[in-house]
């Protein structure tokens, strides 16, 4: 059954969109990542114009992250104070990122510089995570449960403005989550994706948050970022397709619920290993997109 999408100006099959929304929502629920990196290219593949796909993914994400965050919240897995500190950094970061993006555009080849650095960043991150989580899984298998330190102490614990994050069992400088939020905010504004899959590993490894707390806290934070992006896109570019977003949401909100239930059954290192594989896959795809001979050497863009 096809349905016509008013802003995207194309007809798409409702069932395909429902399945797409559910799958991406499920991933959001499990890992606390937005899934925009998956949803946006899939929508473009289905024939939705790029600008509409980016903006509408953000709108879909509002619903999926509310749904997922609520599910984690009921299990007490959301660290509100941590999320708010990171959010403050994130909003400042996106404002900064927008101006950096404008600068890169003026210099030309912005998208190339961005995907290249993003690919390298994600590739490195993915490999590090995979090695760490594989070691943790092997350790557990070999010797049974090991008593480990909650997290490593390093230079970051010498920074001023210390703050207690009760839920995460952390006593660290608020500058660290603030700076992390800023960095991810900048990157997401430049890349046009949520940045959840940088945020989540950073929360685990850099902040040393317990893995179980990470998805809920990340999703709680994503609610506000994606809401801000949706409104901005609607006002600036008029590219949010409400009909498309609603269809994706029906699947997305249910997927997020199922995902967060499924994620709760996984152990921390399993979750980290799975996320590492996804991050690596995205990195490989980014690099492949740039290096494999494209099917279409010519691309068209009609200027309205």
């Amino acid at each position: 059954m096809d349905i016509y999408l008013p802003i995207a100006a194309v007809s798409l099959n409702v069932f395909v969109l429902l399945i797409l929304g559910t799958a991406v929502g499920f991933l959001s629920g499990v890992f606390g990542i937005g899934g925009g990196f998956l949803l946006t290219p899939l929508l473009i593949l289905a024939g939705v114009p790029q600008a509409v796909a980016v903006a509408t993914s953000a709108n879909q994400l509002v619903g999926a992250s509310v749904s997922g965050a609520l599910a984690h919240w009921r299990r007490g897995n959301v660290d509100i104070s941590m999320a708010l500190v990171m959010l403050a950094g994130g909003l400042a970061g996106s404002a900064f990122g927008v101006s950096v993006f404008a600068l890169l555009l003026r210099l030309g080849q912005a998208d190339l510089v961005i995907s290249l650095s993003y690919g390298v960043l994600l590739g490195g991150l993915g490999i590090l995570m995979l090695v760490e989580s594989a070691r943790a899984i092997l350790l557990r298998r070999g010797e049974g449960p090991v008593q480990r330190k909650l997290h490593q102490h390093n230079w970051m614990h010498g920074l001023p403005l210390k703050m207690r994050f009760r839920r995460s069992k952390l006593y660290i400088s608020m500058l660290v989550p603030l700076g992390l939020g800023f960095l991810v905010g900048t990157l997401s504004a430049i890349m046009g994706v949520g940045g959840g899959f940088i945020m989540v590993p950073a929360m685990i490894y850099l902040l040393g948050m317990p893995t179980s707390m990470v998805p809920g806290t990340s999703l709680f934070q994503i609610i506000f970022v994606s809401a801000a992006v949706t409104v901005l896109q609607a006002v600036e570019n008029g590219t949010v397709d409400l009909v498309l977003a609603m269809i994706l949401l029906i699947g997305g909100v249910i997927g997020a619920q199922l995902g967060s239930r499924f994620g709760a059954k996984l152990r921390g290192e399993q979750l980290r290993a799975a996320l590492a594989i996804i991050v690596l896959a995205v990195a490989v795809k980014l690099v492949a997109d740039m290096t494999v001979t494209p099917a279409q050497l010519y691309t068209l863009e009609a200027i309205q």
Partner: protein
């Protein structure tokens, strides 16, 4: 405002023409010999002057029908709204594919279709084809200033036409016009689901002895109708409220979905 007056005027003309056309068909049905008047060698009209894009829209077809006053060939050229179009070309640079060259074509039609009752070269000489832009080979695409050589620009032009042909918005074909006897003709014009909105112009040409005897242009409006049009309009004129509604409804959907799972 000017567009409004134009539309009104063109519709009045359409109705007048449709009346004549029905009269012509009626005469044919009653086997009247001179069914098309001598001073009207060509009459044509569409089955509909509006393609309404509604929620279930998956593409549409419009039938063009008409009559000619004696033997001859018919060519139909359909052109959609014109938009500047950038064509970019990727090439490999240090192992990576990047956009290296681009050409902007000014006012390229977003839809183009040309049909003829016989192979074009058999009925009309090349200069006339070119003058009336009959067929994709003769479609005039003006490029804006570029540093590229003419033969390179020609590749970009071919890429634009290829891409749009694959999208189903560019088409040219022989024999898509069927004749009933040698006076009445009809042709089906297909529009895919991705058809751009706007005003289309359908030009019907009567060709005899290698020259265009007469032509007639009929407008066709492609427009969003109903809820979709209202959503689009709302998104455009009340962007902030639209954005807030989008966020609020998404958040509400997220909340509602979490309710059945509450007890878990």
């Amino acid at each position: 405002m000017r567009a409004g007056i134009f539309f009104f005027a063109s519709h009045v003309r359409c109705y007048a023409r449709r009346g004549l056309c029905y009269a012509a068909l009626f005469c044919f049905a009653s086997l009247w010999p001179g069914y098309a008047r001598a001073d009207q060698p060509l009459l044509a009209d569409l089955s509909s002057h509006l393609i309404a894009i509604t929620t279930g829209f998956t593409g549409a077809s419009v039938v063009l029908f008409g009559a000619i006053d004696g033997p001859g060939d018919v060519v139909i050229v359909v052109r959609g709204p014109e938009l500047d179009t950038v064509v970019r070309h990727k090439s490999r640079f240090a192992g990576i594919w990047i956009n290296t060259r681009q050409v902007t074509f000014a006012g390229a039609p977003s839809y183009y279709a040309a049909f003829s009752s016989k192979p074009l070269d058999d009925i009309v000489p090349q200069p006339v084809q070119s003058l009336h832009q009959i067929g994709l080979a003769n479609l005039r695409l003006q490029h804006k200033s570029t540093s590229l050589a003419d033969d390179e620009v020609a590749e970009f032009r071919a890429a634009l036409i290829d891409d749009r042909r694959q999208q189903g918005v560019y088409d040219d074909a022989v024999g898509r016009i069927s004749f009933l006897g040698d006076r009445l003709f009809r042709a089906q014009i297909d529009f895919p689901a991705t058809v751009p909105t706007g005003t289309y112009f359908i030009e019907v040409l009567l060709i005899r002895d290698g020259s265009v005897v007469t032509g007639q242009t009929t407008p066709l409006v492609v427009s969003q109708i109903g809820i979709d049009a209202e959503v689009g309009e709302f998104a455009e004129h009340r962007a902030l409220i639209y954005g807030l509604i989008a966020v609020a409804s998404a958040a509400m959907a997220g909340y509602l979905a979490s309710l059945p799972f509450r007890s878990v």
